[in-house]
Amino acid sequence: MHDDSLRVWRESPVFKAVCRAEMDELRASTPSVQAAIIATADGFDVADVCSDKRYSPARLSAMASSMMALAGAVAKEADYPDCGSLIVESSGGKTIMMSLPGTDGRLVLLVIADNSTPFGMLLMNGRQCAHRIQQRLNLTSDSNN
């Protein structure tokens, strides 16, 4: 009845370590990134790399799950099947949320960045980070049900 694969991910040290390593790699390649978090679709933080204590992974994970669910509802209203990613553009910086490939939308990558990297590059580097996590953990949509 519960989503057990989600719980396994939430509690697996290996899973967390791989996520953190790849998000560290994202920060190294993209200096504008201030924080990156992997969250479950029901709002729990799995792993995070944050430049600063003012970011709360717990709060940001709850918010990321709400945002992705709302964006998914908007997509559905437009007759589109899912929401792959969501961008918040602000004068202070950008926030990207994307569903982690191979997880059927059950994990979300949240990236917070300032405006010092061109947006296309930020988006591409974020996507590559998500793909590396998928590949290293062998995430496929039909193997995690």
Binding site: M1, H2, D3, D4, L6, R7, R10, T40, A41, D42, G43, F44, A58, R59, A62, M63, S65, S66, M67, A69, L70, G72, A73, E77, G105, R106
Partner: protein, 172 residues
């Protein structure tokens, strides 16, 4: 003379907020339920943003129905959803170990509505869990200086939910 009102459904996870809105909404509600991974709750899915439904009343009034998530980590949504709302339906889950204590968190979260009497308290699952009884809730609310109407309701029953809305609109 038609008007539109926004009504909020709040209360603990599993109390029946999503169920209540789906019972009375005229169109299929907007749902933001996702798979639940939290073992504290025996539910397959849980609301992570809002439920949204719509209902037109005989008098020409239109109601916009918003359900918010129960978990404390989502309390940031409450404030956003509550903006401009007419009133709040607080659902207590009588199967919890201390449902009246749990309700305090939601009474505080919607304090401005509770203080001005723009709220009703609804108690579910009384048929299997008769205590605390409705009178106990009434007394608790009196004691904390915020008397509100208290009603039994099965969120799975459309008529029950409509009756609750009726009472809320009367007091608001």
């Amino acid at each position: 003379m038609s008007s539109e009102h926004k009504i909020i459904f709040a209360g603990p996870t599993g109390a029946g907020k999503t169920t209540a809105i789906s019972q009375i909404s005229e169109k299929p509600p907007v749902s933001t339920d996702v798979a639940n991974s939290d073992l504290r709750y025996g539910k397959a899915t849980t609301t992570v943003a809002i439920d949204f439904g719509e209902l037109a009343l005989d008098g020409g009034e239109k109601l916009r129905l918003y359900g918010v998530p129960g978990q404390h980590r989502f309390s940031f949504i409450w404030e956003i959803a509550a903006r401009g709302a007419l009133g709040v339906i607080l659902i207590a889950d009588n199967t919890l170990e201390d449902p009246m204590e749990e309700l305090q968190f939601y009474l505080q979260g919607f304090d401005s509505f509770v203080q001005r009497g723009a709220a009703v308290v609804v108690v579910n699952r009384l048929e299997t869990h008769p205590y605390p009884a409705e009178e106990d809730y009434v007394k608790m609310l009196m004691d904390r200086g915020t008397p509100l109407p208290v009603m039994a309701c099965d969120p799975r029953k459309k008529d029950d939910v409509l009756t609750v809305l009726d009472v809320l609109l009367t007091v608001c």
